[in-house]
């Protein structure tokens, strides 16, 4: 088997928390620089997949290869923006401090931030439209601004693969637009992006590939092929509504309680 470099391969991966397996026997390849929407009902294992991709959850079996090498060989080439950041919002750090943390992986253990690191941080702040908030405490920000801060941090990591968990749910329009323009910026830089979303319309129009999950792989491919009624109803079951004009809706608004297990990492 020949390897084209720069891609993400998942081979027969089963992922779960302890004994409980959430995702079973998952296999797919994402080509370098692709934009993938991860779609599925609540509890389908979207966050679980992301956590496994950054090494927050161990694989029960199978393997994940990035650039043809197993996870853990690439340190910071995967950046992850969780659905809700589990941080202390009263911690004494500014927006710029948080974004600078994105550089720590490449800085290594003992080096201090260089002029170049500061420039990357500044660029990331500007890309996400929060340069004017750089010296605010993170506790002073609105929800959308907080999300943009963490997206800027992921950008400052200069990742090859960026994972975003539900960046479009429950945020303001400015943040949605900043996130969409971030996707275009990432495409220019050939960064692979995987984004979980509940918005089928968005998945159909703004993404190259759709990964449809429900505890296992339902379908993976071009949006037109994957977002067909047959595979959608296999993923969503009765919460899929087909309108008379052919439009399909998922009767499942905001994802409140997806995967409530927390790994203790502190």
């Amino acid at each position: 088997m020949t390897h084209t470099p720069h891609r993400l391969e998942i081979q027969n991966a089963s992922i779960g928390y302890g004994e409980k397996i959430v995702l079973r026997d998952l296999s797919f390849h994402v080509p370098h620089g692709a934009r993938v929407a991860v779609v599925g009902p609540n509890g389908a294992g979207k966050s679980t997949l992301f956590k496994a991709l950054v090494g927050l959850l161990p694989l029960q079996s199978g393997q994940i290869l990035i650039h043809g090498l197993p996870l853990g060989n690439h340190l910071d080439c995967v950046a992850y923006v969780p659905q809700r950041e589990d941080v202390d919002w009263r911690f004494p750090v500014t927006v710029r401090d948080v974004v600078m943390m994105g550089r720590f992986g490449q800085l290594g253990w003992l080096k201090r931030a260089s002029r170049r690191d500061m420039q990357i941080v500044q660029n990331s702040l500007e890309q996400m439209g929060i340069a004017d908030l750089a010296d605010y405490s993170i506790g002073q920000l609105s929800g959308g601004q907080q999300q943009r801060t963490f997206l800027a941090r992921a950008l400052a990591q200069e990742p090859h693969i960026l994972l975003m968990d539900e960046p479009f749910s429950s945020v303001d329009i400015t943040t949605q637009e900043a996130t969409l323009s971030l996707l275009d910026y990432l495409r220019e830089r050939e960064v692979t992006a995987m984004i979980s979303t509940h918005d089928l319309n968005l998945a159909a129009t703004r993404f190259d590939h759709v990964l449809l999950l429900n505890r296992r792989l339902i379908a993976f491919g071009r949006p037109g092929e994957v977002l067909a009624q047959e595979s959608l109803s296999r993923a969503f079951g009765s919460s899929l509504l087909v309108m008379e004009n052919g439009a399909m809706l998922v009767d499942e608004c905001c994802p409140p309680e997806e995967e409530h297990h927390h790994t203790e990492t502190k």
Partner: protein, 270 residues
Amino acid sequence: MSWFLQPLTYEFMLRGLLASVIVGVLCAVMGTYVVLRGMAFLGDALAHAILPGVAIAYILRGDLLVGAGIAAVIVALSIGLFSKQGTIREDTAIGILFAAALSLGVALISSMQTYAVDLSHILFGDVLGVSPADLWLIGGLSLAILLTVGLFYKQFLVISFDPVLAATLRLPAELLRNLMLVLLALTVVVSLQTVGVGLAAAMLVTPAATAYLLTRRLWPMMLVSAVIGALSSVIGLYVSYYWNIVSGSAIVLTATAFFLLAFLWKRVRS
């Protein structure tokens, strides 16, 4: 100025002042992590948990500080072990070990034939009894702890603020957490000489909490905390000299006064 300089003509007073300032700064800097990571209970527990080490060192006629240091590090690492990956909650682990160590210490002390003056110094501090050798030990250990904190500033910041990022950056979070516990244990040991077991936790928490009210970033918080810790030590020692109060209490009460001022200032401003 003579009221300031006159006490310093005594060498024991000068050594006491130096020791207090070093300890004040050290506790204040380590204290920022204690406050931010919610480890106030841990600081207090560590301070009491050194008691069996001190008692054993006393029985064996060894150095009390060395005994205290060994006990503190053992307790700190045991807390890390018991609460590893959430087997039991950290505060539960602390509660169990704290009580066990304290009981062991009291049991050992109560079995001694002579009641020891030296042990009361461990409990309440004896800043005027700092020998030149003690001062070197306090200074050397403090420098080593502060250098380690400076060296791993980034890593400690990330594991304290965002454990998920720490995991994606593949930082050895468990190792760093244990390193922090050991640094904290050593800090408590160093502070025994000046403020004693009973008040060490206050020196960890009060200046850092004051700085938390006044600053918005981590390193300025450390800096302001250190200044408050040092000032409290100097003012406290003079108060203790002129009013004849136990020095540990005077130092902690001064730090508390700083905290109240900062709290009021914050209230008035908002």
